[in-house]
Structures are given as C-alpha cells and as structure tokens.
Amino acid sequence: MASLVGSRVERKEDKRFLTGKGRYTSDINLANQTYAIFVRSPHARAQIKKLDISKAQKSSGVVSILTGSEIAEDKIGGLIAGWAIRSEDGTEMKCPANPPLAKDIVNFVGDPVAVVIAESLEEAKVAAEKVSVDYKVLKAVTSTADAMDGDTIHEGIDKNLCFDWLLGDRQKVKEAFEKADKVISIDIINNRLIPNAMEPRACLADYNSASEEITLYTTSQNPHLSRLIMSAFGNVSPEHKLRVVAPDVGGGFGSKINVYNEDIVCSWAAKKINRAIKWVAERSESFLTDIHGRDHVTHAELAVTNDGKFLGFKNETIANLGAYARVFGTVTPTYLFGPCATGVYEIPAAYSNVKAVFTNTAPVDAYRGAGRPEATYTIERLVEKASMELGIDKTELRMKNFPTAFPFKQTLVHTVDSGDYVAGMEKAKQMADYNGYEARRKDSESRGKLRGIGVSSYFEACGIAPSAAVMSLGCGVGLWESAEVRFNPTGQVTVYTGSHSHGQSHQTTFAQIAADELGVPIENIDIVHGDTDKGTFGMGTYGSRSLTVGGIAIVNACKKIVEKGKRVTAKMLEASPEDVEFKDGEFIVAKSNKKKTIGEIAFACYLPGVRDEMKSPLPEGEEPGLKETAFFDPSNFSFPAGTHIAEVEIDPETGEVKLEKYTACDDFGRIINPMIVEGQVHGGLAQGIGQALYENAEYDETGQLMTGSYMDYTMPRADNFPEFNIGYTCTHATTNPLGVKGCGEAGAIAAPPTVMNAVIDALGGQEITMPATAEKVWKACKNLKKSNSKAA
C-alpha cells in the first residue's frame, strides 16, 4: 500500500464548503431562540455614572436586559490572562479584573456594558439604542510608547505597567558590547494588526432546564479550553454541565483562542432566561472587540566585529496589552517573543527586556506568529542594517553567523534539535536568482523606478508544548494534546482529536497519518473535533501545534491499537505476540503465511466469540473493543526555519510599492501533504506582506479606532500579490516520531522583515515604519532625491 504521508491528497472537508453545506455557528438556529445585542461603550475610558434600562425594557420584543450588576450579583467571573509573568525584580505581574459586562468603568471603545435579549434581531437592536448610559469621560491612554506616562487606567497598577520582564544576562551583554567594533542600533515599531478571520465571531447558547446543561456553539479554536475557563474562572456552570461546540470555524489566526465576553454572557443569560440566545458579530464589532495583534515599540542593538561576527544583542521593548490581559496576552510579548530574539544566529550574549503596558484600546493577544514575528522583525531588520553599515553582502553576513552544528544551543532558551540554515539560504538564493538581481535593478532604474531586494532568515519555536516547560514559565495549563482512535466493528475508524481545524485541513492530514499507521483506506477514516461532548479533553489549535503535538497523539494512539492487534492476532493464530508484524493493515506471523487484516481484528475485538464454542479471540485479561487514547507531550518545541527573499519596485512619483518577486524556502521537516503546506505558506505570507505593506490598526488620541472597517483597514486582495515562489529544504525534527515541524505561522513571521528590508534597500537605507504606505514611501523618495542631488 502506497504511503499517503507525503502526497497531495485532496481535502475531505472541501465538498461541504464548496457546495454551501458547511455549518458555521451563525448557520445554526434553534427553536424558540432569542437574539442578543450588546450595548458597548462609545468611549475609550469612562466611568459609568448611571445605566438606565427602563425605556429599553418597554421596547417591543424585549425578553431581558442584563448588566454588569447582575454579573456581579451572580458572581460570574471575568476574562483572564492564561500566563503569569514575573518581572525582572521578582514581582508578579499586575492585571486588572475584566468582568464580562463592565459595571463601573469602561476601558476601550467596544467594552460591553449590557446585553439586550429580544425575540428578533431587529427588536434587540432597537431596544439597545434605548439603553441610556451616563458616562463620565476620562482621559484615555492610547499610545504604546507613552503609556507609562499617562493617567493610571487601572487602580493599583502604577505606570500602567503589567510587568517589566527580562530574559538574558545584562552583564554579559554589557561586556560583549564593550568588545564590539561597531554597534548597530535600530528603533522600530511593530504595527498593530487586526486578525480579521473572514467569519465574524458568533455564539449560540442553549439551556436545558431538566438536565441543567448549557450547550454553547461558538467560534473557537479550542472548545475544551473555553469550557475549562468558563467553568473554572467564569463560574458559568460546572464543567460536566457545559458542552462547548466549535463547529466549522471560518478562520482564527489566534483571534478565536480567547473566551470572549459574549460567550460567557450568552451562556449565563441562557440559563437565566431559560431560552437559547444567538449572537453574531457584525464586522464593525469584530474590528472593535476581537483581540488585536503585535503593537510593539522597540529599541534594539547588535554588537558586531568589523568582519561581521555578531557578539551581542539586546532589545528594550514596550508591548501594548490593550485594556486587559487576555489568554495569551502576557505570554505573546514574553516567552513567545524573547527566546526568538537572537534569530538563527550564534550570538554569545543577549537579553530581551519587555515592558508590557495597559492602554485604552482593544486587548492585544496572539495573532498568527504571536511574538515570533516581532522578534524576527527586530533581529532581521538589525542584521540587514548591519550588512549595509559593514558593507558585507546580506546573505554572506547571515551565513557567517549561522550555527555550524545541530543540536544548536542558543544563548537565551532554546536548544534547536535540527536544521540546515546554510542549505536553506543557498536554495533560496538560487530560487530567487539572487545573483541576477543587479540586472533587474538596472532595468527598473531605466524605467525611472527604484528597486530593492530584501532577505530574511528566520527561525521560530512553535508546536507549543511541552507542559513541564511552559508551566514552569507561568502557563496556567499544560500544552499536551490528546487523541482517541476508535474502530467500528465493521472496520472504519473515527479519530477524535483535541486539535481544532478552522482551515488547517486536519480532516485530511490527520486521516493521512492514521491511514498510514493503521493501513486503513483514507475513505474509511473520519476525523472528529470541536465538541467537548465527543472527544477527550484537548488543548486546541494555535502556535502551529496541531500536527507536531496533536498529530503525534494520533500516531501514538494508532500504535497502541496496533499493539493490541498484535496480541489479539497472536492469540487467534496461536503465535507469540513478538512474532507478529504489522504492515499495510495486516498482522502477519513471522516466517509463516498466517495473517489477519486489521478489519478482522476489529471485528473480533468487538464480537469476541463464536457459535457453539466457548472460545474468545482475546488473550486472557484483554478487554474487548478496539479503541485507544493517547496524550502526547513532546520533549521540546519544533523549530522550523528558512530564508525568504523579496524584491520590490517603487514608483518614486507616487510612492507606490509593487511586490515584484517573493521567494520562500522553508524547512518544515517532514511534510505530510505538500498541497496543504503550500496553502499554509501562501496564507501566512499574505498576512505578513499585509503587515509590511498594507495593514495598520490606528487609534486616535481619544481612543477611537480610525480603521474600523474594510473602508479604512486595508485587507490584502488578490491583486496585491505576485505569484509566490515556494520551496523547501528538509531536516527532520528529532523530537517527534513523524519528524514534523509546524508550518502555519512561518509566512507571517518571515515576510514582514523580508519585504521591509527590500523597501528600505530601495530607499537607500532610510528607515520607514510598517506598513510602507505610498505616502511614507513617497516622502522617503523625496528625501532620497534631495540627498542624491546634494551628493551630486
């Protein structure tokens, strides 16, 4: 039987999506459901002096109106940060309470203060407009850089500082910098982004008063984690009386990791009114209230020798958490950021210092890449600048500082198990025709255009796990994953995974893995996820962990099935279990022609007997049935890496940047389905290029979101991109049996510095901030013209 792992298997999930049969949360309706509209703060920071619902309550069709007071009375808990961070001085981070409905104070535009539940959506909207809230508007803090100088937003949190965190050794860095021939320094901003999964968030909560069970359909990347948080912290319901279903979910990119106010409020309220409640975000609401991403202000320095050896690195970063710290809010700018600070390089001394601040903006949390794009942007912009200042070719300078052997023990945290960075660089250069660049530059010049080339070599720590490591660093949960492999008596297989697919194609890739492990045709394998009532507890999908953690749990559960199959075969064929081999779905007794198919074994396990004989096919003590569960907790993260090269052409008259060429050469270890990996790379690149050239979430000084719709927030469209040139090198991960590494975030991590390095190269080294909009580039072109004419 040909192996499916490694082949371009078409997706099992596609037909339903392509024929309109997908089932997203907003597609689900329950009999007698009501509709919720949230009343939200129009101010970034204000005290609620009075909230009057009397007029709204009389509005047609209103079922109930609930506010922060009822939340407090019922002791419903708030939203939480999932990771406790300790400051450099040893003190614990300081986080404010974040009630699901604000009672006394609102802290960002969109912070909900009440929910209106009515018989129809229109009636709920009309009534919501009649809720009268008297606000005392306070001065908002919105700037990341100046947040520590602003008014104190949350009582008891001085300077709006959540924590002041350090990773690394300041003294060693000081010594390294003293030895340097040159110090390259840079001030950069990692612009704030809005994830914008195409499916807006939604939830539908139902309550059964007889069984006292709440069922919550919601747009989540991790239904079990949502249930845990809602039970343990939200006090919505005991865990066994809360079922969370995340059906088809239309993209997440990190924005659907969090439990949101609406999930808690609708679940709690459904029980209160004993009716189902449906809420679907309008895109304008998503812009205001989905978590945002990035938003760092950084000063970084690289100590180098004249011949291009890196001696030391440091960064001082202010990270904006927004109004509240949410699930991955505090870890994103720390343990997902700092450990990647030195990139793919051997840098003997390094530290990363991060001050995380609260502002009156939407909460900032994990968005595709989460911390690693910010780290990669910092080091790769620095290295590019170093190449300009040292006059050393950008690819040569990088290669000079690549590690020469693996495992590669980095200065800060990680020990990278495998990789070959030089091979990746060489291949990327060849794919991009790096050596032919000068001719293309001249051609652009002859047409009055500026051309630039940019390189970035990235690595990332993903496949987030291992539990002992992450919990030691403050994570509130372990990050293992579960799988359950269940044979039916007639031989088909259902695989339950704790991972969640919201575009990642688990139904296909996980089935490929199980098909190979079990020798069962892929048509006979179904992958089930997204329902806490169906599968074993699982941790969900984020941080490129589905395959490297969840996929391995499936492999291990399959191996247990095979082990049991061997024991049963041995009994049935009167052989010793050690002599039974398993291959392509058959259990074969060594040196004989005796064998059983896995289907026969499943049948025997479920129907363990024969007519007229007191005889079981099962060895003594063996349980009937064929179902195994595995929990996998890897020994390390996975470390994909690669080199990307971009070329841009700029029209100096308008400042428009055209991305002419984009080459990505990645090492994701072993690839299960090349077609799907390509899709992941393309999507990541689009988001990364979007950050570099188009996307920006902008608040004004009063805390109003200026980019609150697709009229103002630039979502990349098809005509913004060239055809991407994608290639791979492959070194297998040594920390999991499949040899796989994560691939979902690489594009979003590598692309921003790659593109910006190209833009800045075209602009003669002038720094500009992301996104490189036409106006910024136009201004830089004018400066360039001025300085060129002076030079001439």
């Binding site: 008259e653 980019t707 103002d712 927030y713 913004n720 136009w778 201004k779």
Partner: protein, 261 residues
C-alpha cells in the same frame, strides 16, 4: 436596517410624486443600502427607479454621449459606442469598485451622491456634462455644490447625463488601498475650446483645477506641468493621505493622464 416602505416607480412622475423630505431614490443602492445598514442614514420611503425604462441606456450623437441615470457601470464599461466616442469614460467605469458594484451601481446614483472620492463627478466636470433631471438641465460646473451636496432639489430626479465628446481625454486614479475609492483621481479632457483637469478625492468636492488646465492650455504636454506645486491648504487630509501628498498626487495623476491622452 431600520424599516422603510419600498416603492417601485413606473415613471419619473410617479417617482417624484412619491418622494418626500424623508425619502430616497434607489437605483443600484451601492451607497444607500450600506449607509442604511450601518445606521448612517434612514428613510421612511425608498423609491426604486430601476424599473423606469426610460432612465436606462446610452445614446451617442456627433457631439455628445448621453447616458441614462440607471445605466450600470458595467454597461458603460462595455459599451462599444462609449469606447469609441470617449474611451476614457469607459475606462473610468471599468475602474469603479469591484465587478459586483459595477453590475449593480449606476451613473445617476454616483453623480447624485457626489461622494468626494467618487469617479463619475470628475467625468462630468472634465467632459462639460449636462445633468438632465425631470425638471431641468444643469451644467456640471453648477451641479456639484460641496461634500455630498448637489444642486438637486428634493424630489428632483436625474434622468440622464450628457457628456461632451472631447478631442482627447484620460482618467487616472490613485486608489485608496483599503476602500479602492480614489485618494485622488484626475480626469484630463482636451476639448476644442478648453481643457479641463477635473480632480476628485483631493478636496471636499470635485473641482476643475485651473492652474493645471491653464498650464496645459499653453502646451498640452506633461512636461508643462512637470514641476508644478499646487496649494494644498484646501485639500483633504486623513489617515490615508495628507493634504501635501494629495497635492502631489494631483500633479502626478494629471501628468499620467496627459501622457495617456
């Protein structure tokens, strides 16, 4: 979207009769419906004029192209007659919004709405258009009064727009990367007697840039406006483009337009 009464008018007379101080005419609805959905506008009555046959269609004479108010952008973009008589006008229509907007949006709707960054108003100015309403004929230069403001009276309905066929013309747009509306759009038209440089997006209302047209009247070449610097004091400034940048874009797009003429 707040409730309203929908009416489908058979002719202009009926449409006009149905209108009130709290009504709007509905053609493609490409602006009206999104504005109502977002709660930025609400009406008691929406009067659909799409079924008024007389209001749709393209007529070309020796001197002018007359386009019915409910003619869709896609029809203008694909019209062989328009392409022949005023190719730049077909190009402009081809560049409005996306295919779905072009399949639905109408010229009359765009002109009546007078969005400061819409494309068609610049064509009206550049091509010395006459706006035919159910009541009168209005010269384009007197039609566009200010931001979202026109000479139309309550209940007055655009029936057609008559464009003068120029000797040469071109429309060049620098789109907003998010909305794809014009940050600046410049429509240059050289007529026998005059040259118009109509600019959209740069100021609160479309306008004819006299400085540029004067320079081009002396010599109709991009080099004659190459180094012009426009006064940016009255230009729009927002998160997408500063006034200074818009002023520069007007010249850049005008040069491109002249070169493309």
């Amino acid at each position: 979207m707040k409730d309203f009464n929908y009416h489908s008018a058979k002719d202009s007379k009926e449409a006009s009769k149905l209108s009130s101080s709290n009504s709007a005419f509905l053609a493609g609805g490409m602006t009206t419906i999104p504005s109502m959905k977002l709660g930025l506008a609400s009406y008691k009555d929406l009067i659909d004029i799409k079924n008024i046959k007389k209001l749709s269609g393209i007529k070309v004479s020796g001197k002018s192209v007359t386009i019915g108010a409910t003619t869709k952008h896609v029809e203008v973009a694909n019209s062989k007659e328009v392409k022949k008589a005023i190719p730049s006008l077909a190009n402009l229509a081809e560049g409005i919004g996306d295919p779905q907007v072009r399949n639905r949006g109408t010229i009359g709707g765009s002109v009546a709405n007078n969005d400061p960054s819409a494309d068609y108003p610049s064509a009206c100015i550049a091509l010395n258009a006459t706006i035919h309403t159910n009541d009168r004929k209005i010269e384009a230069s007197k039609f566009f009064k200010g931001m979202f403001e026109t000479a139309l009276k309550k209940g007055e309905l655009i029936e057609a727009i008559e464009f003068q066929i120029p000797e040469k013309s071109s429309y060049q747009k620098h789109p907003n990367p998010a909305s794809r509306y014009a940050v600046v759009g410049v429509y240059v038209a050289k007529h026998k007697k005059d040259i118009n440089v109509a600019v959209t997006g740069a100021k609160p209302c479309v306008y004819n840039d006299r400085d540029l047209s004067k320079a081009l009247s002396n010599s109709f070449s991009s080099s004659s406006i190459q180094n012009m610097e426009l006064d940016s004091s009255e230009m729009n400034s927002d998160i997408h483009a500063s006034a200074e940048y818009r002023a520069s874009l007007v010249v850049t797009q005008a040069k491109k337009a002249v070169d493309a003429c």
